[in-house]
Amino acid sequence: MSLWVDKYRPTNLSKLDYHKEQAAHIKKLVASGDFPHLLVYGPSGAGKKTRIMCLLRELYGAGVEKLRMEHQSFVTPSKKKLEISTIASNYHIEVNPSDVGIQDRVVIQEIIKTVAQSNQIDTSQQKDFKVILLTETDRLTKDAQHALRRTMEKYMGTCRLILCCNSTSKVIPAIRSRCLGIRVPAPKIEEISKILVTTCKKEGLNLPSQLATKIAEKSNRNLRRALLMCEACRVQQYPFSADQSVSEPDWEVYLRETANMIVQQQSPQRLLEVRQRIYELLTHCIPADIIMKGLLKEVVANCDGQLKTEITQVAAFYEHRLQMGQKEIYHIEAFVAKFMSIYKHFLDESMGEFF
């Protein structure tokens, strides 16, 4: 309750700042007292979780905000011990099954079944179902997703599932068809800057609109990041000035520099340097697909128009392999090497024409 992000997070559907129409829809949906399984998806920092919590509050009242953290442990069929932390109130439980990696199926089976099989005691006063909130559904393994299918239908009477993910492309169609999809798009830049200004006003600060727009642009339409950036700016320098520098996360800068290194020079030695930097990123817990994406974005921006499609295609190829493979470094490096090769060919050809 302390960072601006948390402090000024709306807790009521009617208090939401944008996508108000959608909020009204959700309100109506809940007002009937019942709703189907939901699949909430949208980019990071768009407000999915905020909307879900608003929805739950609308449904159960303030009781859902009495939260407790529980650490549950399971034993897999292969006698491996797993631990997972859940956040639960009396009315709902939130789990991130992908925390346990490839064993997520066990979590799905165990937790959901235990929760779903127990009925509410007093149905006259309470809703006759609980809500299970599964986050990062797109990171679930196929096994786990299949385990989910039947559970969703079987325990419809006692529980509702709300799935939360960034992209539906990694959710199997069987699950998608069982849920009501709610897409939460990223807020527009104007919306973000408006929110920044109002937040600062609540804090008793004066935020120049130029700076607000600048932050909003830098944030990549991620409201959370925008608010954090804004607060960081406040710590850095107050009163704000319009041309204040907005600090970016280190890893983004680092990644961009790495991408530039690839474009600058193509040689095995450079590949080795790049590998060191990628290792550095990986050890700082940056996901490999984010690295891949970041590299591609920078590389494509810096290379010739002719190559853009080819490189993007190559990147897509290696990204796919990355998802299938085990060791990320091989795939990222393979992409880098491939790019180097393509770029070198291109340079040689264009030079040949030149001479």
């Binding site: 919590m53 991130n96 990062e136 095995p268 050890t283 700082h284 470094i329 091989y330 090497a337």
Partner: protein, 999 residues
Amino acid sequence: MDDDFDYAFEDELDAMNDMEEYSNPVISNKSKKSLDFTTPKSATRSRPVKNLNDSFATPLTESPGVGNKENDSNSNFRKSKKRDQSDMFGDLSDDDDDLNLKNTAKTTDSLPDITPQRKRARHGTASQSHSKKPASQDNSIGDDSFEITPPSSPVAVTTRQQNRAESPVLSATDRIKRLQTMKDNFEMTRERVLKRPPNGQFFSATGEGGQRAYMTLKDESNLEKESLELVASSKGLSLLGTSITSLMNTVRTKKLTSLIEESTNLSKHITGEIDSAIAAVNGNHSDIDDEVVEETNERAQHLWVDRYAPHKYTELLSDESTNRTLLHWLKMWDYCVFNKDKRELEKKREKKEQQNQKKNAAKPDNKNFDNKKFDFKKKFEQNDELDQFNRPEYKVALLCGPPGLGKTTLGHIIGRHAGYHVVEMNASDDRSVDAFRTKIEAATSMQAVMGADARPNCLVIDEIDGAPQPAINILLQVLKNTGETAKKKKQKDKGILRRPIICICNDPYVPSLRQLRQIAMVLPFQPPIANRLASRLLEISRKERLKTDQTTLLALCTKMENDIRSCLNTLQFIQQKQQELTLRNVQSMGIGLKDQHKSFFEVWKQIFQMPKAQRKRFVNPHDREKMTADDWNDTQKIDNTSTASRFQTVLSTVQATGDYGKIIQGVHENYPQMKIKDPRLDGLSLANEWFCFADLLNRETAQHQNYILQRYVPYLMVTSHLIFATNHVPKLQYPTVQNEITTKLGKSSHLVEAMMNEMCPNTRKFVNYNMIVMDILPHLIDIIQPTLRPVNTQLYSAREKESLEQLIRIMIAYNLTYHQEKTPEGQYQYILDPGVDEVSRFPGMKPSRQLTYSAKQVIAREIDLEKMRRTESHIDIRQRRAQGLPDDKSSTPELAHSKNNPNAKDGNEHKATIADKALDENLKKEQLPNHLQFLKPKKVKEEAVIVRDFFGRVVKKREPLPGQEVEEKKNLIGGDIWYCFKEGFSNAVRRNVRISDLK
């Protein structure tokens, strides 16, 4: 030559002898001939020694006369043999000053009855085996069976078959003869119609012409028999000149004779071949090892490895210097084991030094050469020092080397050679701690008193690299026992190792051997020289009648990497199948190829380095399909630099090594440093594609246990070889990066998880792992480091106080705090805990502002205080609930805020905490916390006790007059009498007496 022949065809000769004996059993003494075979035995005994004498010029020589003497007769065979060995020992002592092996003689001296006994035992067995044979042959005469000589060659089998078949043939001809005589008899009887009456019963008849004829009467049964026989014989006589049975018999005999002819031809052919081979190699091989002859009967049952195992020190094939060093070490034990005089050693040393000095003075140029030649000697010369128990410096020898080189054999032979009884202990024995201890104790501290073998023990621990660590610790304990601890326990000399121990292992770098390696004399075992091994193999194959030649065997040795055991096994295997081994066989055969287990560095080197052009001795059998028959002749011309062969070599090496994961890592980490010509980086991207492919395979294998896919992984290494191999020697590094990365990654993810686990649930529900790492942490680190005035917090303005409070709240919500740590330099520092700042910081980026030490201290204190306050408020709520008081909404700040609208939240929260504090204080006043409560003494009320006397009357206390009382008190105080209790004193009452009063 004749002897040679005899040996080589001993089997046949035996069989033929038997046949002869069968046909005319009278000449039974001919079987004694087999004893003649043993005659050259004594000659062979001396042979290796002679060889040694010639080739190595070692001191282990003997007088040349001995060999001749031995040759002369059977009768003094044993005697000469004895002489032989004792001569060996004796001669050792005579002229071995140079090599410091004089001890051998002393051994025999000090143990006069040991060696002869041993010999006797051995001769006993030898003679037994000799005496057995004639006996069994004698049996065979009676039995008409051929049990004594199991078939060892087809020739022998055929001869025997022939022999067996012969008996029916003989009987058949007999029958024919008998039949013929019968026929004659019959005809004669027909003619015997007599004109005169014969003697005995007769029958008379009168002819037409009135002549009288008489016929002798015979028994009717007799007649019947004769008639039957007549019928039988007349059948055979009917159409052909001879009977069908006899015809068939002749055919059979013809067949047999032709078979015999064939076999004799064959054997003649072979003999011719072998003779020529012998002539070609060396005309001087008139002598042959005795053991071969001895055990011909068991030939088929024994492995060659056992049969041709060396029995004497001089027969060892292994590296001479290793043998010497080990023997020398073992001889050092003599001073301890056999109570040899220590002074002799010193004398000898002095003598040697003098000699050395002389030598050096005489030819100073050769000094270096000498040193080099006797390197091994030099190495251990300084170790001649003995310890207090006359033991050598190293208590244990550790022989290490690849399998099949004869380490175990060496251990046994040297032990025996030095006059010990070898006790072996290997992996097949129980090697638990207890078993190990008892075994070591038994072997090192006990000695057989009874029985023929009363020599001291020498423990050979084989395959020690597989023994468990605790067992090896026992050994170490025994080795390190210097007797000092034993003395303390008043157990003199107990537990001190007094016998040599030889340990044998393949890999000395096994972790469990680490300590042993430091205190042991480590002898790395070198494979024998290929030429020497090949000539020994040639010798053996000649004895086994396997046709081959030196070049072939050399090729075989190379293929086997000079592994004696597998060479012999291969030879024996081939001998079972065919009679000869040619170069082509060796080249083409799949057998005998050892799994080459190379170290990782060798594998990587092979991947990154072009092979040097080399003539190939053999071809990988996997290539065979690709080669036509003509190619076989060209195998020698195929160079190993061609792509195909490079492909095969790398592939087979990698496959043999097996640990693909590690190899891939090594390749991956080393390839960017290779200097290859790849202007467009095509190779680079291709190799990387292969890495991805291998990764996919590994993933698939791991996930679905599809191990069949593993077979495609090694092709990655082949590809990288074809792409990256250069002619330079590559500088390789052991791949450690990936491990480092894994640990680092584990560490940072652990930090983030630690942070997440203890987060405030209301904050926690809105974040996830990736969000924290990518969005929140980088900014959070900035946000929690605001500018704070370096003054006391009491002096902060309201706004500053508020921002500080907010900072505290943030840090608590995200489970962060500072804690004090001492740096290695001795300075104290406040460090973020959990240290998630490490996760968000990258090297080379501009470092973020750091708060000052004092600021961090303030924050840490405030965080602690705030946490305490919160827990207190929680306790309050609980207490109030317990007391049945209604919940005060304002006392649960978080709930209260959540109900208020977010806009007014902050202010409310602040007020709420203040309200909380006020409430707390009230509570404190009302109800002191437990630790502040003291026990107060209860006031005792005095009650007027009315004292009554016996009759119930109230007794009035006699109240003293106030003046009196005071006076009495004064007297008491003023008096000098006081009481003092002193322990041990009886006069407890004292009185001060002043000197003035005494006057």
